[in-house]
Amino acid sequence: MKAAVISFPGSNCDLDLQWAVQQIAGADCELIKQDQTDLSSYDVVMVPGGFSYGDYLRSGAIARFSPVMTALKDFADAGGYVLGVCNGFQILTEAGLLPGALQWNRDLNFICEPVTLTVDRADTAFSNQYQVGEQLTLPIAHGEGNYYADPETLAALEANGQVVFRYADNPNGSVHDIAGVTNAAGNVLGMMPHPERAVEALLGGTDGLGVFHSLIQQTKGADIRGAR
C-alpha cells in the first residue's frame, strides 16, 4: 500500500498518522502539502486531525479551498481510498466528499477521552479486519464532533449501510450515535475518533490498528507487520 497524509497549515495529527501507518502498520506513507495537485501515485490518501487554518470560521471550512482538494475529489471519484480523521472528517464534509456536517459538541466543550465504538460494518475497505458488533476503544479529541445530517440524508445513510462506527455511549450528541461514516460508494471514510492514537500497547491500546490493516488488506501488496 502506498499512502499519503495531507498536511494543511494547522494540521497537527499528520505526523501521528504517518507514524502509525509507516512505523507501526508497516506501509509506505508520505507527507504531502496542501498545494499538491497530483495524487495518482497513491492507493490511500489520509486527511489528518488538527486545526487546519486555525479552524477559525468553522472547522475544515477553509482547508477545502486548497489546491489539493480538487485533486482529492478526482482521486475519490476514481475510486481511490480516502480516510479523514477528526479535522480530516470535518474537511471532507465541508468539501462535499461526505454527507452531513460536524457541529459543536452537545456540551460545547472540547472532549479528550477514550470512547467505546461498535463496529457496524466489517465489509468496508476501512474495517475488514474487525467483526460486526465488535467493541473498540479509541480516543476522541474534538470540540466539533457532533455529527449532523438532515432526516432524508440520515435515512439514506442508514439504508445504504454507510455507518461504519457508532458510539456505544454518545459523547457529543451525534445523530444516530454516528462516529464514522462513508460516502455512498464506500471508498471515503470520515471518523471523529483517532485510530492512529491506538496502535501501540505502550500508549494504552491497539484497537485502532485494524483501520490501517484493513486498508493494507484492501490494497493488497504490502505485508502486515505484527498481527492485530
Binding site: 494547522g10 495529527c13 501521528d16 472540547f110 472532549i111 492514537r197
Partner: protein, 738 residues
C-alpha cells in the same frame, strides 16, 4: 487608547513617569545613565525594562541564591528556558510562566496567551515542544465568579494547546479563598532536542541583521509588563486595555518555521528570542545585552497592524506570536524564504552596530539613543526589608481533629474541591496529540516517551500555598518534595525544576519575608533531591485591595525514566496484591485539607518536615520500582492515607482491606514523605528483603469495597460511594448558583 507623546521637559516637570510605574529616584538614575533628559520613547522603554517583570528588581537578590547547576545541566536560568542532558544525545528543555494578572482580567485570552508565551520560550531554544502542564489556583468554588474563571481559563488553556498540537498532560487545580480575586494561571512547557543544537537569544557581530517574524504589531497589551508589576484594585478591574487575543494557528506556523531554521539553517542563525513581556524592546535589547553589542532598529520597517503608532507603542506593544532573530549578514534572504514558505510576515528591521548604544529610528528621526546596559544590567535592584507576619509570629493553637463518623468524613474529604477528581477539567485538553503520552492525567506524574531513545520523561507541577501560609520556608521545601514524590511514584528520578514564584507586593516587608523564606526552603529541597532550578518566573503583586494570595511558589519538576518498562502508575492492578505504606505517620493537621473541611480554613504552626526521611523513602521507592517489584505506587499528599488509598482503587474498580495502628483521624494526616505501594504476592520476599521503610498494611481485593481497621474504628464503604463523591464534586459545584 492611543498614547500621546510628551516632550522631555514636560515629562520631567509633570512627572508623567510616575504613571508608568517609575519612581523619582528611578527617573533620576535613568537620566544619569543615559546622559540626557529622557524623551517619551526612552522613558517608556525604561518603564517596561525596569518593571519587576523584566528587571526582577525586587526578586533578583533572592533568585541569585538558587542552586542552578549540577553535572547534567547544560543551560541554567537566564535564557528563554533551561536545558538538561537526558542521555542518548538528547536534552530536555523546560520552563514555566505565570499569566495571573491577564487571566484575572480576561480569563480565556489571558490563559491562552500564557500558553502561547511559554511555548515560544521553548522553541526559541531550538527544542520541539512535546508537553504542557498547567497549575491553577482559584477561590472557593461556590462563588459564581470562581466558576466563571475556572470555565474560561480551562477553555483558554485547551483552546491554545489543543489547536497548536501540544498535549497538555498534567497540572494541578487548587481552591482556596485567598485566590478569589487573584487566580493563579501558571503554564509549563517541556521540549526535547538534540543536545548539540542549543540556541541563545543573542545579537552579536556588527552588520548582522535583526529579523522580525510573526504577527504584526498592534496597540494590544501596551506595557503589560509594568501592568503585571502592580497590584489590583477595584478600579483597575475596569481597566480593560491590556488584553491580547491569542492566535494558535499563527504560532503553529511560527514554531514549525523557527524549528526548521534552528535545525537546518544553523550557519545563518546567530540568536533567536521570543517577544514576551515588554515586547520588542525587551527582546531586542536583551539580545544586544547578552552579546555586549550595540543595536539600531528602524521602526518604520516593523510590520504594523494599525496606523500612526508611536515609537512608545511599537516598542512596548505585547502583541502575541512574534519572534526576533539575529541573522548573519548575507543570509537574510535564506531566512526570509523559510518564513515566506510558511506564509509568515518577516522583515529585516535593524542591525547589530559598533559600540554599545541602543538606537531607534522612526520616520528618519533618531528617537532613542541610550546605552544598552541602561535598560538591562544597570536596571535597579533593591534589597528589601523583611518582617515576619503576625500570624507566623504568634500562631494560632494546634488543630486537633475529631472524627466520629469515619465514612462520612472520608466521603466529604473525597469531595473537597482541591482533592476531588479534575477530569471534568482536563478532559477538555488534548493530552495525546503527538502520540507519546504513556501516562495520562489522573495518576501522579504524566509520562512522555522520548522518540528515538529507550527513555521517558515524567513531569508534574505542585504548589502548596496553604502550607506556605503557615510556614513559607518549610512549606516551600514540602512543595519541592511533593513534586519529587510524584515523579518517584511514576518510576522517575528527578532531573530539575522550574518555578513560578507567585507572591504579594514585595515592597511590603511581610510579603518580602515570605518570598525570602520560601527561597530558602526551595534551595534546601532542590539540593536534597539533586534537582537544580534551571528556569522560572516571578509574579509579584498578587493582591487585591491589599489582600495578598497565600505565598505560592509553583514547582514544575521533570524526571527521567531510563527504562520504559519501569513506568508505574497509581492504579491498583490485581486483587491480592499486597499493600505497603512507606514512611511514618504522625498527627499532622495544621494546614491540612481535614482542617479546612472541619474549620473552613487553615491556621496554627505548620507541622514538621523530615527532609531526610523523605529522601530515604523516595530512594527506597525508586529502587523497588526499578527492580520491577512494584505493581502500583502513589504518593500521599492532600488528604493523606485514606484519600490516596481510594484514588488507587478507582481506575480499575478494585477495593482494599487494610489495618493500621493509627487513630482514625490520622488516616487523613498529611505527614510528608509517604507512599502507598502494591507488590505481587510472589514478590513479597524479594520486596521485604530490601529492608526498606515500608510496612505491610493489607491487600487489594476484587470486591469494590474498602475495609479499614484503625486503633479506634472498623469501617467499610463501597468503592462506588467514594468514587461518586470524588467524581461528582466539581461538576456539581460548577453548576451551583450563588
Amino acid at each position: 487608547m492611543a498614547h500621546v507623546e510628551m516632550s522631555p521637559t514636560a515629562i520631567a516637570e509633570k512627572k508623567s513617569y510616575l504613571d508608568l510605574g517609575l519612581t523619582e529616584a528611578e527617573y533620576d538614575r535613568f537620566t544619569e545613565l543615559i546622559g540626557h533628559q529622557p524623551n517619551d520613547t526612552e522613558i517608556g522603554l525604561a518603564s517596561g525594562m525596569w518593571s519587576e517583570h523584566c528587571a526582577y528588581k525586587y526578586s533578583k537578590p533572592i533568585l541569585r541564591q538558587f542552586w542552578t547547576k549540577n553535572e547534567r545541566v547544560l543551560m541554567g536560568p537566564g535564557e528563554g528556558a533551561g536545558v538538561i542532558d537526558i542521555g542518548e544525545g538528547k536534552a530536555v528543555v523546560f520552563k514555566a510562566e505565570s499569566h495571573n494578572h491577564p487571566s484575572a482580567v480576561e480569563p480565556y485570552e489571558g490563559a491562552a496567551t500564557g500558553v502561547g508565551g511559554i511555548i515560544r520560550d521553548i522553541f526559541s531554544i531550538g527544542a520541539k515542544p512535546v508537553a504542557m502542564l498547567d497549575s491553577l489556583a482559584f477561590g472557593d468554588l461556590n462563588q459564581p465568579h470562581t466558576q466563571h474563571l475556572v470555565d474560561r481559563i480551562v477553555a483558554g488553556i485547551g483552546g491554545y494547546g489543543n489547536a497548536i498540537g501540544i498535549p497538555t498532560v498534567g497540572g494541578e487545580t487548587n481552591f482556596d479563598g485567598s485566590y478569589t480575586r487573584n487566580p493563579l494561571v501558571n503554564a509549563m512547557c517541556v521540549g526535547i532536542m538534540d543536545k548539540d543544537q542549543i540556541q541563545k537569544g543573542k545579537a552579536a557581530g556588527v552588520g548582522n541583521a535583526l529579523i522580525y517574524v510573526g504577527a504584526k504589531t498592534g496597540r494590544d497589551g501596551i506595557n503589560g509588563a509594568s501592568f503585571a508589576s502592580s497590584e489590583f484594585s477595584d478600579d483597575e478591574a475596569a481597566d480593560r486595555s491590556a488584553v491580547q487575543v491569542g492566535d494558535p494557528f499563527m504560532e503553529k506556523l511560527l514554531m514549525d518555521a523557527c524549528l526548521e531554521i534552528t535545525q537546518q539553517h544553523q550557519q545563518a542563525l546567530v540568536g533567536i528570542q521570543d517577544m514576551g513581556a515588554a515586547g520588542l524592546v525587551s527582546s531586542s535589547v536583551e539580545m544586544a545585552g547578552k552579546a555586549n553589542s550595540g543595536m539600531a532598529l528602524d521602526l518604520d520597517l516593523i510590520p504594523q497592524r494599525e496606523a500612526n503608532m508611536t515609537p512608545f507603542e511599537i516598542m512596548l506593544s505585547e502583541s502575541q506570536e512574534r519572534m526576533l532573530l539575529c541573522v548573519r549578514a548575507g543570509f537574510e534572504q535564506e531566512v526570509l524564504d523559510v518564513f515566506a514558505a510558511y506564509d509568515l510576515d518577516a522583515a529585516v528591521v535593524g542591525h547589530v552596530i559598533d559600540g554599545h548604544q541602543y538606537k531607534l529610528y522612526h520616520h528618519g528621526k533618531l528617537v532613542c539613543d541610550v546605552p544598552v546596559s541602561s535598560l538591562t544590567d544597570d536596571a535597579p535592584v533593591y534589597e528589601q526589608e523583611a518582617k515576619i507576619p503576625e500570624h507566623l509570629a504568634n500562631p494560632a493553637p494546634d488543630f486537633d481533629p475529631i472524627v466520629t463518623d469515619p465514612v462520612a468524613t472520608w466521603k466529604a474529604m473525597m469531595a473537597m474541591p482541591t482533592i476531588a477528581d479534575k477530569s471534568s477539567l482536563y478532559r477538555r485538553y488534548d493530552a495525546q496529540v503527538q502520540t507519546n503520552t504513556v501516562v495520562l492525567p489522573g495518576s501522579d506524574a504524566a509520562v512522555i516517551r522520548v522518540r528515538g531513545t529507550h527513555r521517558a520523561l515524567a513531569m508534574t507541577t505542585d504548589s502548596k500555598g496553604r502550607y506556605l501560609y503557615l510556614d513559607p520556608q518549610v512549606g516551600a521545601a514540602m512543595s519541592v518534595a511533593e513534586a519529587a514524590r510524584n515523579l518517584v511514584a511514576s518510576g522517575a528520578e528527578p532531573l530539575g525544576i522550574t518555578d513560578c514564584l507567585n507572591f504579594g507586593d514585595p515592597t511590603k516587608p511581610e510579603a518580602f519575608y515570605e518570598l525570602a523564606e520560601a527561597a530558602k526552603g526551595i534551595i534546601q529541597a532542590t539540593k536534597a533531591f539533586n534537582a537544580p532550578v534551571i528556569s522560572g518566573n516571578v509574579s509579584l503583586y498578587n493582591e487585591t485591595n491589599g489582600h495578598a494570595i497565600y505565598p505560592t511558589p509553583m514547582i514544575g519538576m521533570v524526571g527521567l525514566i531510563e527504562d520504559l518498562s519501569t513506568i508505574t502508575t497509581a492504579a491498583f492492578k490485581h486483587a491480592d496484591d499486597l499493600i505497603y505504606l512507606v514512611g511514618e505517620t504522625h498527627g499532622d493537621f495544621n494546614g491540612s485539607e481535614l482542617q479546612k473541611l472541619q474549620t473552613g480554613g487553615v491556621s496554627g504552626r505548620l507541622f514538621d518536615f523530615d527532609l531526610e526521611a523523605e529522601q530515604t523513602n523516595q530512594a527506597f521507592v525508586l529502587s523497588a520500582i526499578r527492580q520491577h517489584l512494584v505493581t502500583a505506587a502513589h504518593d500521599l499528599s492532600d488528604g493523606g492515607l485514606l484519600v490516596a488509598l481510594a484514588e488507587m482503587g478507582f481506575a480499575n474498580g478494585l477495593g482494599a482491606k487494610i489495618k493500621v495502628t493509627l487513630p482514625t483521624s490520622w488516616g487523613f494526616s498529611e505527614t510528608q514523605g509517604r507512599f502507598l505501594m502494591t507488590v505481587a504476592p510472589e514478590n513479597q520476599a524479594a520486596f521485604e528483603a530490601l529492608n526498606g521503610p515500608a510496612k505491610l498494611i493489607g491487600h487489594v481485593q476484587a470486591a469494590p469495597e474498602f475495609d479499614v481497621t484503625t486503633v479506634s474504628h472498623h469501617f467499610s464503604v463501597a468503592l462506588g460511594q467514594l468514587q461518586t463523591a470524588f467524581e461528582e464534586a466539581l461538576p456539581w459545584y460548577m453548576n451551583q448558583k450563588a
